[in-house]
């Protein structure tokens, strides 16, 4: 590891807040995308199943 | 096909003649926006003359967008768009004719009005020919790109704000070079390069926008 301890990793010589917030932003926004896409698909599948039940 | 386009242009000009408000409203809007600027910022000549180029270009852009909203909308509403599309000519010629008519009643008066506006904002006199020439090359480009947006939102309710959203980003290069040309001229520098770029963008717009707007109208 480049840093000596977890504490210096967290602080990054004063740049920690900038770096960590960027990474958090990246992870959170992309996770929301995947999660939302999956949610939409589950919803669509549920509706398709309802149609299938109606027709059978 | 020339005849087809002439019929459309003549018809649109006749319509504006019957209802001159369509011609005058965007012009009043243009002057109004420009007049609000000194009220909001400062009436001092030094401040205004610096910002003049940008303010005039942004206002011209907004005025163009305002009038573009109805470019195809009215024809769509009364059914004449169907008849225009059914004529045995390509859709791009129809778009081109509509844009020419639109520019004649929106872009051209704007250019004629611009020296007056330039005076209001204390733009150096030597920059006025450049301002008019840059508007002459730039406003047709604005109308052409705007036609794509107008065609896309034709059947959509409340398309005005949507049109603005679609088209303004595409106007970025025109405003950058248009305003820069005027700034350069007011500083006594050469403007040939800017004019060449504006002309190139106009040619480029002529090549792609009639096609794209025509395709959008046929949806």
């Amino acid at each position: 590891m480049y840093f000596e301890s977890l504490d210096t990793l967290w602080h990054m010589a004063g740049h920690g807040s900038y770096v960590w917030s960027c990474y958090a932003l990246f992870v959170v926004l992309l996770s929301i995308n995947v999660w939302h896409a999956k949610g939409q698909k589950t919803k669509a599948l549920r509706q398709a199943k309802a149609v299938a039940r109606r027709n059978s | 096909m020339i005849n087809f386009m002439l019929v459309i242009i003549r018809r649109d000009l006749l319509l504006v003649a019957r209802r001159p408000a369509e011609l005058i409203n965007p012009l009043v809007f243009f002057v109004l926006v420009v007049a609000l600027f000194p009220l909001g910022v400062s009436p001092e000549a030094s401040v205004l003359s610096q910002a003049a180029a940008g303010v005039i270009w942004v206002s011209a852009m907004l005025a163009t967008l305002l009038s573009l909203e109805l470019l195809f909308k009215l024809d769509y509403d009364d059914g004449s768009l169907e008849q225009l599309l059914l004529a045995p000519y390509p859709a791009w010629s129809l778009v081109l004719a509509k844009v020419i008519a639109h520019w004649l009643v929106s872009g051209l008066p704007l250019i004629l009005l611009s020296p007056l506006i330039a005076n209001l904002l204390f733009l150096p006199t030597q920059a006025i020919p450049t301002l008019m020439l840059s508007l002459l090359l730039g406003t047709p480009t604005l109308s052409l790109f705007g036609a794509i947006g107008a065609a896309l939102v034709t059947g959509v309710r409340g398309g005005g704000i949507l049109l603005t959203l679609l088209i303004l980003p595409l106007y970025v290069p025109v405003i950058i070079f248009g305003a820069a040309a005027v700034v350069a001229a007011s500083q006594g520098m050469a403007v040939d390069g800017y004019m060449a770029l504006l002309a190139a963008m106009l040619v480029f717009a002529l090549m792609i926008t009639p096609w794209a707007a025509g395709a959008a109208l046929k949806l």
Binding site: - | F4, V7, E82
Partner: protein, 214 residues
Amino acid sequence: MSSIPTSSLLCVNDLACERDSRCLFSGVNFSIAAGDLWHLKGHNGSGKTTLLRLVAGLHPIDVGTISHPSTHAKIIYLGHKLGLKEQLSADENLAWLVGLESSSTQQERYAALEKVGLKGYEENTIATLSAGQRRRVALARLHLCKADIWLLDEPFTALDQQGVEDEESWLRQHTLSGGAVLMTSHQNLSIQPVKVLDLSHYTPAKTSCSSSAL
């Protein structure tokens, strides 16, 4: 193609239309021959207007073909919206509408307006005319454009009894002189012979069109 009679102007083959993943109609086959008067029927939402617009070429065709066997027949389309500019006079409107493809003299336009019973209204702006009179202005175009096929969407709307009778006689004259008509209407026509196409029969039981691919 061999089964098509030589006099047919336009053939619709196996046409289907899907709107918002719902199938309006499928497997529609018919051909318009010179002298035909086709009456397009069907309940609301069965796709009459859509079919007419497809034939006119206002919509892209998804499934099926529309072919023009002989020389390209000239088509005129008159929809729900008449395509008239309110601020222009009846004469000016006809001038630009006809001018899109050919040209007309003022005499011809005045004669056409007289034929539809609008003598003396030539210079009135459309805004001052009643709904029935506007419809008549639009119909006057049929007399000016020498089209082979008339596509009319509810052409009797807003017309009075006399107007309906007049129009039926024009339809008859047009078919007798070798033209063809495809029209939608809720009322039955009093002229004969009429070929009827009922779109209700083409609504598929399942809501999906047969087109599985593309």
